[in-house]
């Protein structure tokens, strides 16, 4: 905490020395922003299965990428000053920004960039974007400031995918419990099980943060988290997970409630490899037997959005597909009979043990009983989910929330855990990557999206709302939280 104190003192001295007029801000530039979250990272390395909490705390705050995905959803250069793409789209030449240093004091060089990208594409990397970067065939570093990436195929979303790649000092070594990034904050202390403390990095190349320090405080229980905000123990709650706690904050002038666009989708993911879920009609039948409006209302009350596919309205290739398999138990029963299951069937639903999955599972159990389908709920932990389902594909159906932005491309990967394999979609998604313009990319992905929805590849239950609640004296925080990112550098806290 020492650096914070020094900064505070410096700010105080400045205000004394130059009088009140010298500090024109109506906020405290040395303030510590206390952010309450439910997502403590498992470790500090986003390629080592750290979970969404690490994106929340570190993306843009501690680590930066060559590009960033802004809270508004656009991709903008960060550590790249300029870049050029060859005629055939296979060679990208990036010029790095000058004067960028890591927290350890070393300057940013092209070797660090090469090292960082290779960390994500490495054999043992658990990054969800590993496959998206698999077209990279070579990374050259002709000089300290130039990185040349060659691809095996065109990849229009390379800049976007690179926004997932943290630029890490190549001399940093193991970063599962330490860091060496270029962001506006350095890691002060990680108290496992309770908090991550970040402090402003004084040698930051860009605009300095409008606060002195950030403290991510972790809670395992939403009620405790809300109480922390009520009692002024935290300033912000990054994402409210139940509408019932909002009653305490809505309409209270001491708090601000914002609802942004989320990319978190609640999914009933079938294992499309195994019977009966290898049958399109069965999948469509279950989709039609799900009263999603009622489910969304049960979980989120008045909040949240219904979706007819995996694509949220913030993605450029969104079209409203909620009409493809509307709620219709009668036709669900007919489809099941056509598929050869007139008396229904039985399956095991592997359900992660945290909210909202168990209650969603019970909802589905009750809904599907009406069409003769028996659901056996098997409660598993998040770790079991990762090994049993994500790695071993040993399941019939599961529930999961998918937080990523632009993740429809997962359906173009037949080896993904849900095992959806439609050659047409694989081709369209590959073609969309090879597109020469964003219009073409959008066109291909819109088409792929439509086919995936027609195939009822998974059962897309609803889109979470992204609700942030803060104390009224705190402003400047991201409202959308795309990819669970929570950029802290523009947050202002007034006294």
């Amino acid at each position: 905490m020492r650096p914070t104190k020094i900064l505070l003192t410096a700010a105080l001295l400045a205000s004394v020395a130059f009088g009140p007029g010298a500090l024109a801000q109506d906020y405290d530039p040395g303030a510590t922003i206390r952010i309450g979250s439910l997502y403590e990272p498992q470790n500090l390395d986003n390629t080592a299965g750290a979970g969404q909490g690490i994106n929340e705390a570190f993306n843009g705050n501690v680590y930066e990428g060559l590009f960033t995905l802004t809270d508004a959803g656009s991709v903008e250069p960060v550590l790249v000053e300029d870049y050029a793409v060859s005629e055939d789209g296979l060679t990208y030449t990036f010029t790095l920004r000058e004067g960028v240093t890591f927290h350890s004091g070393e300057p940013l060089t092209s070797a660090d960039v090469k090292y960082s990208i290779e960390r994500v594409t490495a054999e043992d990397s658990r990054s969800s974007r590993k496959r998206s970067l698999s077209t990279i065939t070579g990374i050259e570093t002709p000089d300290e400031r130039t990185v040349v990436i060659t691809l095996s195929a065109r990849s229009i979303s390379l800049p976007y995918n690179l926004s997932y790649v943290w630029i890490v000092n190549d001399a940093a070594g193991d970063i599962t419990s330490a860091e060496d990034g270029t962001g506006p904050y350095t890691l002060d202390e990680w108290r496992r099980g309770s908090a991550l403390a970040l402090t402003r990095f004084d040698d930051y190349w860009g605009e300095a943060p409008t606060n002195g320090a950030v403290l991510f405080q972790y809670f395992t229980d939403a009620t405790a988290l809300n109480n922390a905000l009520l009692t002024n123990a935290v300033d912000i709650v990054t994402s409210v997970q139940s509408p019932d706690s909002l009653a305490q904050f809505a309409g209270n002038p001491q708090f601000t409630v914002t609802e942004g666009a989320s990319t978190t989708k609640e999914l009933l993911a079938y294992n499309d490899r195994v019977a009966p879920f290898d049958n399109v009609q069965v999948r469509k039948a279950l989709a039609r037997a799900t009263d999603k409006a009622r489910l969304l209302n049960s979980i989120w009350g008045e909040y949240g959005t219904l979706i007819g596919s995996f694509v949220p309205p913030t993605d450029p290739w969104y079209v409203d597909l909620t009409g493809v398999d509307p709620y219709d138990p009668e036709s669900a029963r007919e489809l099941l009979a056509e598929a050869g299951y007139p008396d229904g069937f039985e399956f095991t639903l592997d359900t992660p043990d945290y909210d909202p999955h168990p209650i969603v599972a019970q909802f589905l159990q009750s809904e599907y009983a009406k069409i003769g389908v028996t659901v056996n709920i098997n409660i598993i932990t998040a770790n079991e989910w990762y090994t049993k389902i994500y790695q071993e594909h040993n399941f019939e159906a599961t529930l999961q929330e998918h937080v990523n932005h632009r993740d429809i491309v997962f359906y173009g990967n037949p080896d993904f855990y849900w095992g959806y394999n439609n050659p047409e979609v694989v081709q369209l998604i590959a073609d969309s990557e090879a597109a020469s313009s964003e219009e073409e990319q959008t066109e291909k992905l819109t088409e792929a999206n439509r086919i995936i929805a027609e195939d009822a590849a998974s059962n897309w239950l609803y889109l979470y709302p992204q609700i942030v609640v803060s104390a009224a004296n705190v402003t400047g925080y991201p409202v959308n939280g795309l990819n669970s990112q929570f950029f802290a550098y523009d947050i202002q806290k007034s006294n």
Partner: protein, 282 residues
């Protein structure tokens, strides 16, 4: 009536009051549990009402987030709690009494070894042992929870049985029975068990309450009966997020749980007083 006799009568009445109160509380739960076998207000999984409806004539304690009738869930909770209590105590009794008697009859060093093992087991909280047993089995289910709690309780029963049995074995009539050639099984059945049974049964009633609470804790932690089994612990856990908007969802299972456990403890107290030989002697 002498003063002493009068005090005794008042005490009697107090004793029986404890016994009756306990019997009534437990009786209500037993009646409800039996009723669920033949009749329920709603299908427990039917989403019959709206989201978090307050108590009304249609839904006596309101509905949960999915619109399911909470009173129905609570009724099923009674059944599950009683099943857990009876099941766990039965398992604990069979294992515990057997082990305790073995220890009491065993040779010196085997007795010492068993006693030491039991002391170590008792040092672990019931809930912890139960969690270990559940973790060791593949999936959480109501029967694993019952077996786990039964095993956890058996250590307590075994220790008590051993002590009680040893005390009986020192009696002259046991020596007499031994010299007259009664087999050890005969001694157990004719002399030991009938003598220790009253004390044991009081203990079982207490263990019952313990088992019910432990099962609620297991379910609260997601290690008990999986959904849609409406264990009170799971109802509490599900109501936790909505405790501000619909507090009844958390209060009702809490009251149900407390009433059964208190009822069982009162019953145990009443039983103990009723069978206490020192009191009878006065």
């Amino acid at each position: 009536m002498t003063a002493a006799a009068e005090t005794q009568a008042v005490e009697r009445r107090q004793h029986s009051l404890t016994l009756y109160a306990g019997a009534v509380l437990v009786g209500i739960h037993v009646v409800i549990a039996l009723l669920t076998l033949v009749w329920l207000p709603y299908d427990p999984s039917a989403m019959a009402g709206g989201r978090l409806e307050p108590p009304s004539w249609l839904h006596w304690v309101g509905t949960d987030r999915l619109g399911r009738d909470l009173f129905t869930q609570l009724m099923i909770g009674s059944r599950i709690a009683l099943m857990v209590g009876v099941g766990a105590v039965a398992i604990g009794a069979v294992i515990g009494v057997t082990l305790g008697l073995l220890a009491a009859f065993a040779s010196r060093w085997l007795d010492d070894a068993l006693a030491a093992t039991l002391d170590i087991l008792i040092a672990f909280p019931t809930l912890l042992i139960a969690m270990l047993v559940v973790a060791a089995s593949d999936t959480a289910s109501l029967s694993t929870a019952i077996v786990a709690l039964g095993i956890a309780l058996s250590a307590i029963v075994a220790r008590l049985t051993r002590i009680l049995a040893k005390r009986v074995l020192l009696m002259d009539y046991i020596t007499a029975a031994r010299t007259s050639g009664t087999s050890w099984l005969g001694i157990v059945l004719i002399h030991v068990l009938p003598n220790i049974w009253p004390t044991l049964s009081v203990n079982f009633a207490l263990q019952f309450g313990l088992a019910v609470i432990a099962e609620a804790s297991l379910s609260y932690l997601g290690l008990g009966a999986p959904p849609p089994n409406a264990s009170w612990g799971r109802l509490l856990q599900e109501a936790q997020g909505t405790v501000y908007t619909a507090p009844i969802g958390a209060i009702a299972p809490g009251v149900a749980l407390v009433s059964l456990v208190i009822g069982m403890n009162l019953l145990a107290d009443g039983l103990r007083e009723a069978i206490d030989p020192t009191r009878q002697a006065r």
